[in-house]
Amino acid sequence: MKHLLSAADLGYDDAILILDTAKQLAAATEQGVGKLPPLRGRTVVNLFYEDSTRTRISFEAAAKRLSADVINFSAKGSSVSKGESLKDTALTLEAMGADAVVIRHNSSGAPHRLANAGWISGGVVNAGDGTHEHPTQALLDAFTLRNHLRNGDGDLKGVNVTIVGDVLHSRVARSNVLLLNTLGAKVRLVAPPTLLPYGIEDWDCEVSYDLDASLEGSDAVMMLRVQRERMNAAYFPNAHEYSSRYGLNVTRMNRLAESAIVMHPGPMNRGMEISADVADSDRSVIVEQVANGVSVRMAVLYLILGGSESK
């Protein structure tokens, strides 16, 4: 694995290898051995053009736990704010010897460009690009699902995952549909028709406009963040109507199967797509998702930077 740009890049074996590696790395970390040595002397650059707390910190923690040197490069307070192009920034990082670049960018496809335009030679990890993809989020979601529903082993065959909310603008949804299908899960997307992409009928998933009709049979419900400013663009009338039709509240949660879990990639709009009671309930695995994110990102960096199990 040279880059991780899209969840579509991951075949079944690749995905299982990442999840199994993440499991081993998580176990090693829990044993309290401190930093693991495999990436000593390697440099990982976190190149973040968008504000992000959890993803940047998660990647930073992952790289440091593998003993890599980490450079954080944020668009604010750098030459990017003076108008430097992505190309020139990339050339600079290349000259400084970056072995891998973790990029978050508001332009869909920017990681793809960074990896393929001939600007740099190191590996590229997509940490979220525009409204395109967020493959490590999908990996940590799969890891979390596997831990809860498949005892932390194998794939997700037969698991029913319902993803609810702003699919149109969601890189999390795109990556999850691809990866969860690869792992054998069945995905259902639930959203108002305005927040579904054109051509959704060609995606490998079910689509529904009705959350209430979609709860039964779901093994997991993943709520997507809905930005309040979307209502100004007439995607829905107002926050209250959105919340009443597509928000996950306690009444809806109680209709889920006993074993079903509730997920959210964060940051949450409590009271909008998810009620506070649901977010803080026993069903919620949201905090666990964050912890798993570090393990999964350790696995990705390890495999991309020439870990011994890499192909």
Partner: protein, 427 residues
């Protein structure tokens, strides 16, 4: 003036013959002719010099991307003898002064007829009419008016423009793009845009404007031209309008005949263009529409950009691609090699019809004794890999880079003088 004979060349779909060019006109056609200089035309096709109704020359304002001279050279290399310079320069070509400046620069370059297009509205802002009559009466004698790059979206203003230009036999060339439906749009709205997470530019945003404007043109009895038509639905609307006798003409670009939106999966902004590359069904529809004459002409929408505007991430990149140098080869591959059109149809769509729409009197004439010697000699037997570094245009944003296109312009004659000879620029 040197006289030339082109030996054994096929005039359109005809049998090989000789053509003598002397004193700016076609002097003789027949067998066994001679002249001062001989050009071997065996295996080649002679077409009337190509006329482009839609070229961006970038001068004044962005001379780093293209100038009237560099664009004229690129045009000659592509077999063109007349081009229409779009109005979205800086300053905008919305006054007699600016169109005369462009026209004079074209005269000075002297490689093709440079016909300036005048803006429909002041500053392309879509709020007040530009001085259409003054531009028509100027030395540039503007007949084509367009806010290209932007749509004249105000229906009342569009109606007035259509009416007003009747006074001097002008035509409004509409860039059909409903602005609210295309805010932030990056590519065709379809399966591919959904997958790539790029904001979509729906076909309906083009079709809704075309439908409105053919009805407006019908209502006021005006001539209307549609720029860079790109969707199957647009072809249907034009076909319907023509069946009703509405005086509308339409153009398609070479790149909309050639590419589908699937190339955007590379995220390479070389493929970023407005209107966007569409689906396979759309490509088939515009090819069929061009073949049956529903779409009247091919126009390049040659849109040069410096490399920094393309060597970047997709959303930061500029819209547009160059097209003058590759247009004839692309039409050959997509329309002639596919059996959809013969050379007579190519001559009509790329020379005769655009000259009529633009009211360019000395262009688009039949290859006959006495006609102005505006000619292109095209060798369909060779093919060449496009090398962006070797373009004549000042910009290198050709989407065909690395691809092999069939055919090659061997010679271009402009008013009896070769601007291209032996496949090389002769200027």
């Amino acid at each position: 003036m040197t006289s030339y004979v082109i030996k054994d060349v096929a005039i359109l779909d005809g049998k090989p013959t000789d053509i003598v060019i002397k004193d700016g006109v076609i002097a003789e056609i027949g067998n066994g002719l001679s002249a001062d200089q001989t050009i071997d035309g065996s295996g080649c096709v002679a077409l009337p010099g190509l006329v482009d109704l839609h070229t961006h020359l970038r001068e004044p304002g962005r001379e780093d991307a293209e100038t009237v001279l560099s664009g004229s050279r690129a045009a000659a290399m592509g077999g063109f003898t007349a081009i229409h310079a779009m109005a979205n320069t800086n300053p905008v070509a919305d006054t007699a002064g600016v169109v005369e400046q462009v026209w004079r620069l074209g005269q000075a370059a002297g490689l093709v007829d440079v016909r300036p297009v005048g803006a429909v509205t002041m500053g392309l802002e879509g709020t007040a009419l530009a001085e259409l009559g003054a531009m028509a009466d100027s030395a540039a004698a503007v007949r084509v008016f367009s806010d290209d790059g932007k749509c004249v979206h105000d229906a009342a203003l569009m109606r007035r423009a259509l009416e007003y230009v009747k006074a001097f036999d002008g035509v409004v060339a509409q860039h059909a793009q409903e602005p609210r439906l295309t805010e932030g749009a990056q590519m065709n709205e379809g399966v591919v845009s959904g997958k790539l997470g790029l904001a979509g530019w729906p076909a309906v945003a083009e079709e809704a404007i075309i439908a409105r404007d053919v009805l407006l043109a019908h209502h006021v009895g005006s001539r209307l031209h549609i720029c860079h038509l790109s969707t199957a639905g647009s072809v249907e609307i034009i076909r319907w309008a023509k069946s009703r006798g509405i005086n509308v003409t339409a153009e398609v670009t070479p790149h909309h005949l050639y590419f589908t939106d699937e190339v955007v999966e590379t995220y390479d902004p070389i493929f970023k263009v407005n209107p966007p590359l569409r689906t396979k069904a759309d490509v088939e529809a515009v090819r069929a529409g061009l073949a049956d004459g529903t779409i009247n002409i091919v126009a390049t929408d040659h849109a040069p950009h410096p490399s920094e505007d393309k060597d970047c991430e997709w959303t930061a990149a500029a819209f547009g691609m160059t097209g003058l140098e590759s247009a004839l080869s692309v039409v050959f591959e997509t329309m002639v090699q596919t059996g959809l059109m013969n050379w007579a149809a190519v001559a009509d769509r790329m020379s005769v019809a655009p000259a009529q729409i633009g009211r360019v009197s000395s262009q688009g004439q039949p290859i006959a004794v006495g006609s102005p010697a505006n000619l292109v000699i095209f060798d369909p037997r060779v093919s060449q890999e496009v090398d962006a570094r070797k373009t004549v245009s000042a910009s290198r944003n050709t989407p065909y880079a690395g691809r092999t296109l069939p055919g090659k312009v061997v010679a271009t004659f402009y008013r009896g003088t070769p601007t291209v000879l032996n496949g090389e620029l002769n200027a």
